[in-house]
């Protein structure tokens, strides 16, 4: 069995640098890296964040039955049309604790507000809650990915931080395909990873901790956790390498992406999505968050035919003069309508990338007979409604995947005054994590 698994992966990975894995569901997907053999219906949780919201109306499906069954999406969501049976479109979601470009990202998964003076939230994020439960058996408790930000604000803490392992600790995000690959397949090595050395470092940290006051201990605790995570990783990677060592062809054929960021944005996104799929498929982790950009992205999407100007500028479409402070000074639009449709076009492009991910996940068969998509819970969305009005009462969101048969998809859920926190609470419960409160919410998301 194991032998077959490895051969299969060897085949898959030698397919090319883009790491695209064709559908080959006759092989099993038992993990070479998990601590134990993957149980049936290994559940995974994925969050995909995009900034700048979506124009109002572009999130409304065109045809829905009386009971909410999705019959037809709409032209702006066309790339997702083939997957409509795997989706839920929740409407009317909001975040009472703050939204937008700045407070929005930290709030999106924590639901407890962002304290700008102290640069902290009031909660750890939903993915980290899940990682505490699902992450014990995997190489990495969770994986945080992001596309490398461009322009102003690309080093802003709140705009880049959706995952918080403590209310005061945002997690850094991997932006380079090669670095993502290395975290999965190239464990840290060298003199500092010798167990004697690590033991020494830990005893030093213990001594230091005693010297410090309570509040300082927090940082030393961060340190401890980092070293422990490291030890765990080294341990896991030993298993990984012994699993891999049975077949030299595989170790040789794991294609490590080249260093740097691909110059084509689409190629970049797809490489990252391929790595995301690879991580889930090999059970390197079960919890992944991926920011498709920072909370106020000013990226150009001029490579999409008919689109001009930066993303954030496009989102403020009601002034098409090209002369506002959001603009780059050189792009102009003929009309508000034109600008707005370009804004929607950027969304549609992201839908296409999301559809690519869904297609990949759907093509992979799990040991329990379900597809990888069926065993995932995915939330794809933004911390902002219509970017022009900085709307906050209908956050563009899509839920995908079946949570191991626990979520019935193919529906629109039109509910009033449901918070993101209640959605997170429900998602955790669907994963089998028994909590009765998340963020400020004690209510689950009704209807899921």
């Amino acid at each position: 069995m194991r032998h077959r698994l490895i051969n299969r992966r060897a085949m898959l990975l030698s397919a090319g640098a883009s790491l695209s894995l064709p559908m080959l569901d006759i092989f099993s997907t038992k993990s070479a890296f998990a601590d134990s053999v993957v149980a049936d219906s290994t559940k995974r949780l994925v969050y995909l964040y995009f900034p700048n919201g979506a124009p109002e109306g572009t999130w409304s499906p065109k045809k829905v039955t009386r009971h909410g069954k999705l019959l037809e999406l709409n032209p702006w969501m066309s790339p997702l049309e083939p997957f409509k049976d795997d989706l839920i479109i929740p409407r009317g979601l909001w975040m009472p604790e703050g939204d937008g470009h700045h407070a929005g990202p930290p709030n999106w998964l924590t639901g407890r507000g962002f304290d700008d003076d102290r640069q902290r939230t009031g909660n750890l994020s939903v993915d980290q809650v899940a990682a505490e439960h699902l992450g014990r058996e995997t190489l990495l408790p969770s994986l945080e990915l992001s596309l490398k930000g461009e322009g102003f604000f690309s080093n802003s803490l709140p705009r880049n931080s959706i995952s918080w392992s403590k209310s005061h600790t945002p997690l850094p995000r991997e932006t380079e395909p090669q670095a993502v690959f290395d975290r999965m397949f190239r464990p840290p090595g060298g003199g500092a990873t010798n167990q004697t050395v690590l033991d020494g470092v830990l005893s030093q940290a213990r001594r230091l901790r005693k010297q410090l006051g309570r509040a300082d201990q927090r940082r030393v605790d961060e340190y401890f956790e980092s070293i422990r995570a490291l030890e765990k990783r080294i341990e896991f990677s030993k298993k990984q390498s012994s699993a891999l060592s049975t077949d030299k062809a595989l170790t040789d054929s794991l294609i490590r992406p080249v260093a740097g960021i691909p110059s084509s944005h689409e190629e970049y996104v797809r490489q990252m999505l391929d790595l995301l799929v690879l991580a889930l498929q090999t059970d390197a982790t079960r919890v992944i968050t991926f920011m498709l950009d920072h909370g106020q992205s000013n990226r150009y999407f001029n490579f999409i035919p008919g689109v001009r100007g930066t993303w954030h500028a496009l989102s403020h479409y009601s002034d098409a003069s090209g002369r506002t402070d959001d603009d780059d000074g050189k792009t102009r639009w003929r009309s508000v309508k034109e600008k707005r449709s370009m804004y929607a076009e950027v969304n549609r492009w992201h839908h296409a990338q999301f559809a690519y991910l869904l297609g990949r996940l759907k093509s992979i068969r799990e040991p329990d007979g379900r597809t990888l998509l069926d065993n995932c819970s995915i939330v794809y969305g933004s911390s902002l409604g219509d970017g022009d009005e900085h709307g906050n009462r209908d956050l563009p969101t899509i839920i995908a995947g079946g949570a191991g048969g626990n979520i019935r998809t193919g529906r629109q859920l039109k509910l009033k005054r449901q918070t993101m926190s209640s959605l997170h609470l429900s998602m955790l419960q669907k994963l089998g994590i028994e909590l009765d409160q998340f963020g400020a919410s004690r209510r689950t998301y009704s209807g899921l």
């Binding site: 322009g151 080093n155 945002p170 003199g191 500092a192 940290a205 340190y223 002369r323 402070d325």
Partner: protein, 647 residues
């Protein structure tokens, strides 16, 4: 006024601080009585407005009997309740601004930043929103008056606290410099580190944004391996010599003396590694790599403060070196700390001078200036497409950045007054920068050199291509951006963001090609909603209009405008004079605060106010000489002490 009775009320007793004590709670808690009170209050105002004004003016001039003073207090508080609390009180306050809560803070200046924002919003009439009840101009005045009396004029004499931040890791820049100075290894070890994120201070060395997560630890492991592989390993068959070298390495790595047990621990680990089969060099490398990932190395630990909160000599050495060098303390600093002499005033003064003279002070200039003025974005976030703009080369971008750095470095080295930042008559250029952007034809070669500026036009940082590019929209100037930048970065008085119901320049106006940008902005500012703010922002930017997007001279551009306070600015020259005369105290204060925030690695708080005022006073006594400001900062209470924050 400060009866103890309110302590028995249900709400916490944060009231004394706002000066009006009980009344607030009566107002806040008993809606019914409140309504009556408001009604009376309004009648009183509407009917006898003149009388009130007289009383108000009197209360400013004379110390009136308590009763009259109380009236101002009372009216102020009541007006906030009347006009703001509808949206800004309780848990679900709009924009997260719970003004009711601000009144309860103790001391009231705890939220002085929020109060300053509120002050602006009232002053510029951007709040309450236009579709809500508007206070009369007299009522606005009363509210401002209340803030002034209770927040601006707060008596800080009893406030004494040095502030506190958790132990922090080094920044990536500091890490790289430290390895350079510790091991003599010059390589970019931090290239693949996760990006440093920045919070409130705008500086990446702020303790509250320096986290140590597993993903970063993995980078430290890899960097330690690279660094120890590249470094010269100290090997010696002479035990005494070897022990000495190890001792020195540990002391320099941990920036403090190494105790006997601690040292023996490393010797023991060393032999353990050898027993496991490591060769001499490999074992030593392992020990070194362990040191480079140890908490004592990566974290800037401060644990030795005594009862008074004073940090230890070695901690002072570390604070100094990371402030002025962005790197570890050298042997001289460590030696002085060992001898317990570093904090002696004369020694400290000498050391600061020495450190500023050392080339490692480039670490401070690059990091502080690059972030304060955002000039380090030039060539990265700030750049034009080189295909359309062949002149926009990497070397030009670099020269632009370096001009500003060399300029500030010279001001520090020559101990010039900080006003030179605005109007010094020299700068640094090479041929490319001089010809491409400034139109100076006589400069030859790539070397950046100092030149004397003949005219007054391009003096100071506001004439630097770097600053002018950072404050432009791509390849067009933006008077709004430049005005806001000067108000924020140079004066420390940022304008409030535009209110949500106000649009940008309207389309019809934009399309009117017969108007210059300056004229359009004037029209825009004529719109009453926008006027209040833009009359303070735009004229500053317009005064810089003779500089193009990348600082090219544009003789044709109109650059005259009048500020809200009636001050007319005719071009950059007038702007400089305005900044250094009318706004001199804001400019000085802002510089001091920025240096403090960088030096301390945190935002300044209300309890830093006494120290800030002292530094400003000392700066003024010393003709605003830049080194004396740095010196005042390192001798200040917050720099030399540390105590857990008041709750």
């Amino acid at each position: 006024m400060r009866s103890s009775a309110n302590k028995t009320t249900q709400k916490p007793s944060g009231l004394e601080a706002c000066g009006s004590g009980n009344e607030l709670f009566e107002l806040v808690d008993t809606t019914k009585r409140n309504r009556i009170w408001n009604w009376e209050n309004r009648c009183e105002m509407n009917v006898s407005l003149t009388l009130c004004a007289v009383i108000w003016i009197c209360s400013l001039i004379f110390a009136l009997p308590v009763q009259a003073e109380e009236r101002v207090q009372k009216s102020g508080v009541a007006l906030f309740k009347q006009f703001c609390f509808d949206c800004h009180s309780g848990g679900s306050s709009e924009a997260g601004n719970d003004i009711e809560n601000l009144f309860l803070a103790k001391p009231i200046v705890k939220n002085r930043k929020s109060w300053n924002r509120i002050k602006q919003l009232i002053e510029y009439e951007t709040m309450p929103p236009s579709d809500y009840d508007q206070p009369s101009s007299y009522e606005r005045k009363l509210m401002l008056e209340w803030i002034q009396d209770n927040v601006d004029q707060f008596d800080y004499s009893t406030v004494k606290h040095p502030g506190w931040e958790p132990v922090r890791r080094m920044t990536h820049l500091e890490y790289n410099n430290t390895i350079r100075d510790l091991l003599g290894v010059k390589m970019n070890l931090v290239e693949k580190f996760p990006r440093e994120l920045v919070g409130n201070t705008g500086f990446e060395n702020s303790a509250n944004t320096l986290f140590l997560q597993p993903a970063l630890m993995e980078r430290y492991i890899a960097a330690a391996e690279r660094a120890t592989t590249a470094a010269n390993i100290f090997e010696s068959s002479d035990t005494h010599q070897f022990n000495n070298a190890l001792q020195q390495f540990l002391r320099r790595s941990y920036r403090r003396p190494i105790g006997k047990t601690e040292f023996e621990f490393y010797l023991e680990n060393l032999s353990k590694l050898k027993r496991q089969g490591a060769g001499d060099a490999e074992a030593i490398k392992g020990i070194m790599a362990g040191v480079l990932i140890s908490p004592d190395f990566l974290l800037r630990v401060e644990s030795n403060s005594d009862q008074s909160g004073k940090i230890s000599e070695h901690e002072l050495a570390t604070r100094l070196s990371y402030f002025l060098w962005a790197s570890m303390p050298d042997d001289e600093l460590l030696k002085l700390a060992d001898d317990g002499r570093l904090s002696e005033p004369t020694v400290l003064r000498q050391q600061v001078q020495r450190m500023l003279g050392d080339r490692k002070s480039a670490g401070f200039v690059e990091s502080f200036v690059g972030q304060w003025l955002s000039t380090r974005l030039v060539g990265k976030e700030i750049r034009l497409d080189p295909i359309d703009n062949a002149w926009c080369t990497d070397s030009l971008m670099q020269s632009m950045r370096i001009e500003t750095l060399m300029f500030v470095a010279a001001i520090i080295k020559e101990n010039r007054p900080i006003t030179d930042l605005i109007d010094a008559d020299f700068t640094y250029v090479n041929e490319e920068l001089a010809k491409t952007l400034y139109g100076f034809q006589s400069i030859r070669g790539n070397r950046m050199r100092r030149i004397q500026l003949k005219g007054r036009g391009r003096r100071g940082i506001l004439g630097h291509a770097s600053v002018l590019a950072v404050t432009s929209n791509h390849d067009e100037t933006s008077p709004i951006k430049r005005g806001a930048y000067v108000l924020d970065r140079i004066l420390g008085t940022p304008p409030p963001p535009p209110p949500p119901d106000v649009g940008e320049l309207d389309e019809e106006l934009i399309e009117n090609d017969r108007l210059s940008l300056a004229q359009k902005l004037r029209r825009h500012a004529a719109d009453k909603k926008c006027a209040s703010c833009h009359n303070t922002i735009d004229p500053i930017g317009i005064a810089l209009e003779k500089f193009g997007a990348y600082g090219r001279t544009r003789k044709w551009a109109a650059s005259t405008a009048t500020l809200a306070d009636g001050y007319e600015l005719r071009g950059a020259e007038d702007l400089r004079e305005y900044l250094l005369t009318q706004r001199r105290s804001d400019f000085v204060r802002n510089f001091v605060v920025r240096v403090m925030e960088y030096a301390l690695g945190r935002e300044t708080e209300y309890f830093d106010e006494p120290a800030i005022r002292k530094i400003i006073a000392e700066a003024n006594e010393n003709d605003l000489k830049i080194q004396s400001i740095v010196h005042s900062v390192v001798t200040s209470y917050p720099f030399q002490y540390r105590k857990e924050n008041p709750k």
